[in-house]
Amino acid sequence: MKITVNGTPTDIAATDLAAALEELGYGEARVATAVNETFVPAAARGHQALAAGDRLEILAPKQGG
């Protein structure tokens, strides 16, 4: 199915967030996630179902002021 990952349309086979992160290559990366503009804690990713059209944001530590 097609979802949007960090603004880019992306095809994934996974149907939950934890599996999607694995499939997309994030593995054990230190990231935080939001689905459809709502924060999803790491512990809840396995229970977070994904559907076509969902918007997934994957953020990591970056430089800031």
Partner: protein, 256 residues
């Protein structure tokens, strides 16, 4: 040294991590300045991206980390970003920015108070990027903030303390609240001025990172802050309009 939410920091210099020529220069700027707090952000990460390397660099600095919500223009964006930052950085400190205008990067006071209340109620220790407006400052304190971070001037301008009267009034209005001049400083003399006025710390990024020699400039700021802090504690003289001789008049020779 400043105490924020019960934590004493080692220096009144809070230093950002963006725009440095290299990670090595960033680390050297922190080493030479002894900055007390490290500010960071969250941004989109590509799979296999460099976020982990940056995280290791920050951890190695060994200072408290203050994540921001930079670039957020709505309450919802800021609140969601704060939650994501809390998980990734493992801290409930958040530098709350709710931007009201893209050109001035002026805080949206209405959204800022709303977001501050939501986050404070949720256990965050909120450091609000605000203006010198005392009414707004009061509302932020009512919302649960125990620190205020008024701007000196718009972010990235280097203009210094644009409204000295307003900042002095804010400082006087809430004498016991820790206050940080956040944004707009360009030179160490401006940081010294802030400390002389009774502010507890400054938060910088561009002034250091975009200097020709960032590490030297960071040290310059640290020394200026120390000078300003000492001067404040030493109870400076009041200015006066008319000259007053410093050398005694008594005993002056008559040579005419």
């Amino acid at each position: 040294m400043p105490v924020f939410y019960g934590t004493e920091i080692a220096s009144p210099l809070m230093l950002g991590t963006a725009q440095y020529p290299s990670p090595a220069v960033l680390a050297e700027a922190f080493r030479r300045s002894g900055a007390g707090v490290v500010t960071v952000s969250l941004r989109r990460e590509a799979a296999g991206g460099g976020g982990e390397g940056f995280w290791e660099l920050i951890r190695a600095l060994g200072r408290p980390v203050l994540p921001n919500t930079a670039g957020c223009h709505s309450v919802r964006e800021a609140v969601t970003t704060a939650h994501m930052a809390r998980e990734v950085f493992g801290t409930d400190w958040i530098k709350l920015e709710v931007i009201g205008h893209s050109d001035t990067l002026q805080p949206d006071p209405f959204g800022l108070v709303e977001a501050a209340r939501i986050l404070s109620d949720d256990g965050f220790r909120v450091f609000p990027y605000t203006t010198e407006d005392g009414i707004l400052g009061g509302r932020l304190l009512e919302a649960g903030c125990e620190v205020l971070m008024p701007w000196g001037a718009p972010i990235g301008t280097g203009l210094g303390l644009n409204n000295v009267y307003g900042l002095r009034t804010l400082r006087a209005q809430f004498p016991d609240v820790p206050m940080v001049i956040d944004a707009g400083l360009g030179r160490p003399s401006q940081a010294a001025q802030a400390m002389e006025m009774g502010f507890d710390a400054v938060l910088l990024n561009t002034a250091v990172a975009k200097a020709g020699d960032p590490a030297a400039m960071a040290e310059g700021f640290a020394r200026a802050l120390e000078a300003g802090r000492l001067a404040r504690a030493a109870d400076p003289m009041e200015p006066r309009d008319m000259a007053a001789p410093s050398t005694p008049v008594l005993g002056l020779a008559v040579l005419e």
